[in-house]
Amino acid sequence: MVSGPDRIQVTQGDVVTFTVLSDIADHVHVHGYDLFFELVPSQTVEVSFEATAQGLFEVELESTHLLLLVIEVTS
């Protein structure tokens, strides 16, 4: 189960920051930018990066392919 926003809209050049709290060990994978953030069970992890490219980018748990949200980067 995932709770939180399905979609975040940002402008190219913005720094995107959100936190993930997971009950399992896994990696958060920001597709496209191909960034990985390690998740430790029951610990809040901050995901942060600069949105340099436009488009729709999926963020998912790497091993279970569970989609967390989509980041929409526009001009």
Binding site: M1, V2, D6, Q12, H27, H29, H31, G32, Y33, D34, F36, T52, A53, Q54, G55, L56, F57, E58, E60, E62, S63, H65, L66, L67, V70, E72, V73, T74, S75
Partner: protein
């Protein structure tokens, strides 16, 4: 909750409604202009006449080795599992890039320019040649079964790509590639190399159809010569199941585009989130495109004095949808090729995700050198419109040939279909 696509890190931003409206209006106007100004006698039906200088391109052996290596790398993804070695899931994986980008997109896209190079890079033909499998051809199978078995395998393949939750999993791709290799070796041994590939290897008719757009052909001695754009499409053999194959090409891409769109998700609700729901919707998409095409063919058959059935018309006009199918695929996937394709450069240094760095490129990231929305939208809308125009031209020429004096009347239905397909293609991009 929303479900993830297995491949493709970055998706294109939806095309704005204004682009959609302008593109669709263009298509309607162009179509009616076409009816008025296009030639009154068939010009494309006699097939290509090769001209110009003949060139022999000595790459056949090289391409065969390249194809075979790619296949072995994909199947080789099973080796770490067999030997119980841990792989690093954060490494860019070579197998999805080879299967979903190179094989599925680059090979056909390039074939539209340079002709049917898949013939040479086809790893299964190379494998059969190397092992002496399938020397005795039984061409009667192609006449009887046509591409119907290939239709089923094409649907299975797109299911793996678009619906399977493991589409990006190298191990799954290794298993699938191994199973496909065994299947093709068995059918080539039973029916002959060329017959087995033509009937079962769906890449073969897929690339063959798209490569018929290419202006380059080969003469009897295998030398490359100029034949002119689109010239080979009207003389593509009407294998049984041809029109269904082309409909599946369009229907599956439509499903992929639509399933990412907000309106589609609102329409299907929770049903579109389960595996069964998605599978049903994939078939529904194909069925919708197929029914629309069938109805257009029925209308064309009824409006003509010639006594033909809708089924015959469907086969006779199947090739006219090929540029539209290519345009759909290109509009949806060209950014995937230029961005995700770069994964290959990193993955080639570490093909089994074991932490290697063979060529010093393992840590290379995708370079999003241009993601500005407008140029991408222009290419998307432009390719759909061009695909439509080529489809109209081909259908016009075929109608003149088959229906003679009734050509224009028989064209109304086909033209309506093509305007509808094109508008649908644009509408999906506007997701």
């Amino acid at each position: 909750m929303i479900l993830a696509h297995g491949i493709g890190g970055r998706l294109d931003l939806p095309v704005p409604v204004s682009y959609f409206v302008v593109g669709a209006a263009f298509v309607v106007v162009l179509s009616f202009v076409a009816l008025a100004v296009l030639w009154p006698r068939p010009r494309l039906q006699s097939g290509p006449r090769l001209s110009g200088r003949a060139a022999r391109i000595p790459l056949e052996g090289f391409l065969a080795v390249l194809g075979l290596m790619a296949l072995l790398i994909v199947i080789g993804q099973l080796l770490p599992v067999v030997f119980g070695v841990n792989t690093d899931p954060t490494r860019p994986s070579i197998a999805p890039a080879l299967v979903w980008i190179v094989m599925w997109l680059v090979v056909p896209f390039l074939a539209a320019l340079i002709g049917d190079w898949y013939t040479f890079i086809n790893p299964w033909r190379a494998l059969a040649r190397a092992t002496g499998v399938g020397k005795t051809e039984r061409p009667e199978l192609l006449a009887r079964a046509g591409v119907e078995p290939a239709v089923l395998l094409l649907i299975a393949f797109t299911w793996l790509e678009l619906i399977s939750p493991r589409s990006g999993d190298p191990v799954m791709l290794g298993v699938a590639a191994l199973a496909y290799t065994v299947l093709l070796m068995v059918v080539m041994a039973s029916f002959g190399r060329e017959t087995g590939l033509a009937v079962f290897d769906f890449f073969t008719p897929y690339v063959r159809l798209i490569s018929a757009i290419s202006p380059l052909g080969r003469d009897r001695r295998g030398r490359v010569r100029w034949r002119g754009w689109l010239r080979s499409l009207p003389v593509i053999p009407e294998w049984p199941g041809l029109w269904i194959f082309v409909v599946v090409m369009i229907g599956t891409v439509s499903y992929d585009g639509a399933s990412g769109a907000v309106w589609f998700r609102n329409l299907v609700g929770d049903f579109g989130e389960g595996l069964i729901g998605q599978t049903v919707l994939l078939f529904v998409s194909v069925a919708v495109i197929g029914s629309a095409y069938w109805l257009a063919c029925l209308a064309a058959a009824m409006s003509s004095d010639a006594n033909v059935s809708a089924g015959v018309v469907a086969q006779r006009f199947a090739h006219t949808l090929v540029p539209i199918a290519l345009a759909y695929a290109f509009a949806h996937y060209f950014t995937l090729v230029i961005f995700e394709g770069q994964q290959l450069l990193a993955a080639i240094s570490d093909p089994f995700a074991l932490g290697w760095d063979l060529f010093g490129s393992a840590s290379r990231r995708v370079d999003f050198f241009i993601t500005a929305a407008e140029p991408i939208w222009y290419v998307q809308v432009g390719s759909i419109v061009v695909g439509h125009v080529l489809g109209v031209v081909l259908a016009h020429d075929r109608a003149l040939f088959d229906f003679g004096g009734d050509a224009v009347r028989s064209q109304y239905a086909m033209l309506t279909l093509m305007v509808a397909l094109t508008s649908l293609g644009l509408f999906i991009l506007a997701g």
